[in-house]
Subunit: 298 residues, 2 copies
C-alpha cells in the first residue's frame, strides 16, 4: 500500500489528465472561450474534491477509471463556482491559485461564459460517459441527481446567496454553519457520494458512513479555511489573505476566536473519523484525507 | 382537432404550471434567490421552445405530461441564458419581456446566481423525473446529453462567445449563420428533439425530419428576430428595440438589407415545411408552429 502523499499525487495527476481530456481543445472554436475554460480548470488546486471521490470510491471498491469521471464532474462544478465567485459583482477577487482570476486574465463576459459552460460540461460529462466504463444508466442518473441537487439553489448556489446576504451582518455560529453547509458542504458531500456511487454494488452502511464523514469533514474544511485566511499570507494561500475579514464577512474566527475555532475543527475531525470506525483498513484513504485536510493549517 | 391558437395557449398554460411546480417556492430559503428565479422564469414569453417540444412530441405521439418535463428543462436553460445575457458585462439590457431585467429588478450578484441555479435546475429536472411519468433511464440520459451538448461551449454558450467576439466586426452571412446556429439554433433544435425523445418508441425517420425542420426554423426565427429588431418599437417588443444595430452588432438586416432578409426567412420556412412533407396531418402542429414563428413579423 503506497503512502498517502504518493496516492494523493497520483490522484491529482490522473484528475488533471481526465480534465484535460474532457475539456474541448483550445484550438476548437470558440477558441477564446475554450482557452479560458482550460485556464480556469487546469493546473491548479489541491483537488480536494477529487481526492474525496477517490477515497470514498476506494472504501466502496469502485473502479478508479469510473471515479475519474465522477471526480472530474465535481471539479468542474467547483471551478465554475470559483470563476463566478471571483467576479466583480460577487467577491471581486483578482487572485486565484496564485494566478490572475479568470475575469482578470480574460474579461468579465468571458468569465461569465466560462462558468456557465463549465457547469454544463460537468453534467455533460456524467450524461455521456464512454461505453467501456460500464456505468449503468441508473448510476449515471444517481450521480446526476446528486450533483445537480448539491449545486443548485438549495445547495452551493443557495449558499452563495446566503453568503451575499450575510455581508456586514452579525451571524450566530448556527447561521454561519447553515451558510457553509450549503456553500461548500453540499459539494464536498456530493464528491464523496459520487465516488461511492461508482461502485458496482451499493453498500448502504458504507454510503451512510461516507455521508456522515463528508458532512463533518466538509465543515472542518471551512473552519480550517477561515483559520488559514487569518493566519497565512497571500503568497502561501495563492489567493488574497484576510479577504473575508476585510470585506466584513463573518467567519468562524470572527465569531469564535482563533482558539475555539481550532477546537471546533478538531472536534469535527474526530466526528469524521468516528464515522469510519466500523471499516478498519478499508477506510484508510478517507482517514488519511481527513488528516490532510486538517494539516493544511496547524 | 383544436385550432392552433387554442392549442398554443393550452401549451403555454401547462408549461407555466409545470415551471411553477418545478421551481422552489419563494418562501423557501434562500428566499431572495428563489424569488428572483421565479421572476426570471415565470409569466413571460411566447414559450416558443415549449411549443416546439410539444409539436415535435405530437408528431411522435409522446405523452404530453412527459413532454412538459422536457419543455420545462429547455425553458429553464433559455431563461438562464437571457438573465446572464442581459447583465452589464454582456448585453447590458434593462428590459426583458416588458419588465426590468433580472439584474435591474434585483442586483448583479443575484442575477448571476439566478442564471447559475436555473441552469442547474434544468438538468436536475431531467435527472429526477417522477416515477409515475415512466421515463426510462435511457430516455432521461438521452435528453440530458442532448440538452447539455446544445447548451455548452460548443452550443449556446459558445454562440454567446462568438457573438461577443463579433461586436464591431464585419461578418459575412456565413459567419453570422455560424454564430446563430450556436447561439439560438442549438437550443431550438434540442427543444424539438427532447419533445420527440419523450415518445416510447423512437422513430428514426421522424427524428431526422424534426432535426431538419428545427434547424431551418431555428435560423428563420433568428432572421425574423433581426427584422423585428429593426421594424418594431420597444413597447411591442418588450425589450429594447434597435439594440443590436445600436451596439454595432451584425444582423441579417445589416448584412442583407430588409428585403433580402425577408426572402431568406421565407426560404428557410419553406425548407422547414419540406422536411415535414412525408407526415401529412401528424405534422400539423409543427407546420402551424412554423407559420406562427414567421407571423411574428410580417
Amino acid at each position: 500500500m503506497t503512502d498517502f502523499t504518493t496516492w494523493a499525487l497520483d490522484i491529482q495527476q490522473r484528475t488533471e489528465h481526465a480534465l484535460e481530456q474532457l475539456l474541448p481543445k483550445a484550438n476548437i472554436a470558440p477558441q477564446r472561450l475554450h482557452d479560458a475554460m482550460r485556464y480556469a480548470l487546469l493546473g491548479g488546486g489541491k483537488r480536494v474534491r477529487a481526492l474525496l471521490a477517490h477515497a470514498a470510491g476506494s472504501l466502496c471498491d469502485a473502479n478508479a477509471n469510473k471515479v475519474d469521471i465522477a471526480a472530474s464532474a465535481v471539479e468542474m462544478i467547483h471551478a465554475y463556482s470559483l470563476v463566478h465567485d471571483d467576479m466583480p459583482c460577487m467577491d471581486d477577487d483578482d487572485l486565484r491559485r496564485g494566478k490572475p482570476s479568470c475575469h482578470k486574465q480574460y474579461d468579465d463576459a468571458t468569465a461569465l461564459l466560462v462558468g456557465d459552460a463549465l457547469q454544463t460540461l460537468a453534467f455533460q460529462t456524467l450524461a455521456t460517459t464512454e461505453q467501456n466504463l460500464d456505468f449503468t444508466p441508473e448510476q449515471q442518473l444517481k450521480m446526476l441527481s446528486t450533483l445537480t441537487i448539491a449545486s443548485g439553489s438549495r445547495g452551493m448556489a443557495g449558499g452563495q446567496a446566503i453568503d451575499l446576504a450575510s455581508v456586514g451582518k452579525e451571524l450566530t455560529q448556527l447561521e454561519l454553519e447553515y451558510m457553509h453547509i450549503h456553500k461548500t458542504g453540499a459539494l464536498i458531500r456530493a464528491a464523496a457520494l459520487l465516488g461511492a456511487y461508482c461502485a458496482n454494488q451499493e453498500d448502504k452502511a458504507k454510503i451512510a458512513a461516507i455521508q456522515q464523514y463528508a458532512e463533518a469533514i466538509g465543515l472542518a474544511f471551512q473552519v480550517v479555511d477561515d483559520i488559514l485566511d487569518t493566519e497565512a499570507d497571500t503568497a502561501t494561500l495563492g489567493k488574497t489573505a484576510g479577504k473575508d475579514a476585510d470585506s466584513n464577512k463573518p467567519t468562524y474566527v470572527t465569531i469564535l476566536g482563533i482558539t475555539r475555532a481550532k477546537a471546533l475543527a478538531n472536534e469535527l475531525y474526530e466526528n469524521a473519523l468516528a464515522a469510519l470506525k466500523p471499516f478498519g483498513e478499508e477506510a484508510l484513504r478517507l482517514r488519511q484525507l481527513a488528516q490532510f485536510i486538517m494539516q493544511r493549517s496547524f
